[in-house]
Amino acid sequence: MNVTIVDYKSGNISSVINSFEEVAKDKVNIEVTSDLNKIKSSDKVVLPGQGSFKSCVEALNNINGLTDILNEFAITNKKPLLGICVGLQMFADIGYEETETKGLGWIAGKVSKIDNQNGKFKLPHIGWNQINIVKDSKIFKEINNNSHMYFVHSYEFIPEDKNVISATTDYSSNIVCSVEKENIFGTQFHPEKSDTIGLKIIDNFINL
C-alpha cells in the first residue's frame, strides 16, 4: 500500500512525515511528493497544512493540476484522504484568514477566526485540549472520548451540515476539531504531535 503525503511547498511537514514513517514502519510505503501521477496512483492521501488558509490555497494552486488531481482522488474516485489543520480547513468553500479565499469546496462551510470573546481567550489556541467525540469515525477506532490532542490554530472550520462533525473541542466556544464525510477525513488538531494517542489515529487512517 502507498500513502502519499502531499508536499505542496507550504509550511513545515517534517513532523507529519516522521509520524507516518514511525507508524508505517516497513509495512506501508510513505511517499512525500507533489508529483501528480504518484498522487493519482496512491491508495491514500494526506493533505497537511501550516500557515494561513490563503497561503496554503495559493501554494496548492501554484502546482499546476494539483487541485484537479486531488478532486479526482477524493471526490470522483472517493479514495481516503486525511486533511490536517489547514489541510482540513481547505475542505471548506471559503476561508477568511488574511483575505477572503476560495477553498476546495469539498465540505460546505466556511473558515472563520475563533471568537476570543474580547481577549478573554488567548489566540492562537495552542496546547492540549480534549476532544468530544460526537459520532463514530473510522479514524477514532480505539480512541477514548475526552482524549487529549495537540492544537495550534486561530481559525475554525464551520461546516453547514453538522452531520460531518465527528469531534469538537471546548475553548472559547465549541470548536469543530474533526470531520468525516464518506472517504474524506480531517483533524483540526495535530495527530502527528499528539503523542501515542495521535499516532493511533494515524495508524487507524493507514489501516482503513
Partner: protein
C-alpha cells in the same frame, strides 16, 4: 478545556546536554535525544532545546540533534538559541522542529519575526524575551543576557505580537538560576498586555512555583529546567501536583 502546559527545557552545547536528568539507567547522560524521549514518555507537553553552542563551527550540531529527536518524540519540539535569520528558522523546521524561538535577532531586526511568521505561520514563531528589572520597569536583554537593549519589555511584547509572534517565552533574568520562583509581576503584566500565550521561564525551584506561574503569573505554559534534572521532580509529579491544586493539566 485547554490544559496548561509543562515544558522541560534542555540546554544543549555542541550537540550534548549540559544539564540534564541524571538517572542511573541512562545509557548516555549527555545525549539530548535520549533525554527528550524520557521527558516525552513521562508526559511532557512539549520539549524545548536551548542551543548554547558558542562557536560558529559547531553550530550545525543542533540540526542533527533536532533531526534525531523529531523521529523519536511525537510531542511539539521548540528549538532556540543562536537563531539569526529566516534561513536558520527554515533549516530547524526542516529538521523537524515544530516551533523556533527567536531572541537577539528579534530585537535587532524586527523583519525576522515579520518575515518568518508570514512565511511559516505564527504558530511556529516564538519570541523569547529575556527581561531584567530596572526601577519600575523591565528591560529587554540580548546576547544571552549580556547586552541591555534598554527596550521596555512590556512595549516590546506587544510589538512582537503585532509582528506575528505566536507565543512569547518570557524569562526573568533576575530569577533565572536562583530557584526562588518566577517573576510573577513580570509574567502577569506581559500576559495581560498581549492576546497570545505566554510561557513563563526563569527561577523555578519547586512545584509551587509552577502553580504560581499559572495562577498568579497568568502564564499558559510553564518552562523549567533544573527541577526536572537530576531526578528532583519528574514531569508526572509536577502534573499531579498542579492537578491537585486545581490547575487543568493533561494527565
Amino acid at each position: 478545556m485547554l490544559k496548561n502546559r509543562i515544558i522541560p527545557c534542555l540546554d544543549v552545547k555542541n550537540g550534548r546536554v549540559v544539564k540534564g536528568i541524571n538517572f542511573v539507567d541512562l545509557k548516555d547522560a549527555g545525549d539530548p535525544v535520549e533525554q527528550a524521549k524520557i521527558y516525552s514518555d513521562g508526559g511532557a507537553d512539549e520539549i524545548c532545546f536551548l542551543d548554547i553552542t558558542a562557536s560558529n563551527e559547531n553550530r550545525d550540531t543542533i540540526y542533527d540533534v533536532v533531526k534525531k529527536t523529531s523521529k523519536k518524540c511525537f510531542v511539539p519540539l521548540t528549538v532556540g538559541g543562536g537563531v539569526r535569520s529566516v534561513e536558520d528558522i527554515n533549516k530547524l523546521l526542516n529538521c523537524g522542529a515544530d516551533k523556533v524561538s527567536i531572541n537577539t535577532a528579534a530585537v535587532e531586526n524586527s523583519k525576522v519575526v515579520i518575515d518568518s511568521s508570514k512565511k511559516f505561520g505564527s504558530q511556529c514563531i516564538v519570541v523569547a524575551i529575556d527581561a531584567k528589572k530596572n526601577g519600575d520597569k523591565w528591560e529587554v536583554f540580548t546576547h544571552g543576557g549580556r547586552n541591555n537593549s534598554g527596550i521596555d519589555a512590556l512595549v516590546y511584547a506587544e510589538k512582537m505580537e503585532n509582528n506575528g509572534a505566536g507565543e512569547l517565552l518570557v524569562t526573568s533574568m533576575d530569577r533565572d538560576g536562583t530557584q526562588v520562583g518566577y517573576d510573577i509581576e513580570l509574567m502577569s503584566k506581559i500576559s495581560s498586555r498581549v492576546n497570545i500565550p505566554v510561557i513563563a521561564s526563569g527561577g523555578v525551584g519547586n512545584l509551587d512555583h509552577l502553580v504560581d506561574g499559572i495562577k498568579l503569573g497568568k502564564a499558559s505554559a510553564v518552562l523549567a529546567a533544573s527541577i526536572f534534572h537530576y531526578g528532583k521532580h519528574s514531569v508526572k509529579e509536577a502534573k499531579d501536583y498542579l492537578d491537585s491544586k486545581g490547575i487543568p493539566v493533561r494527565i
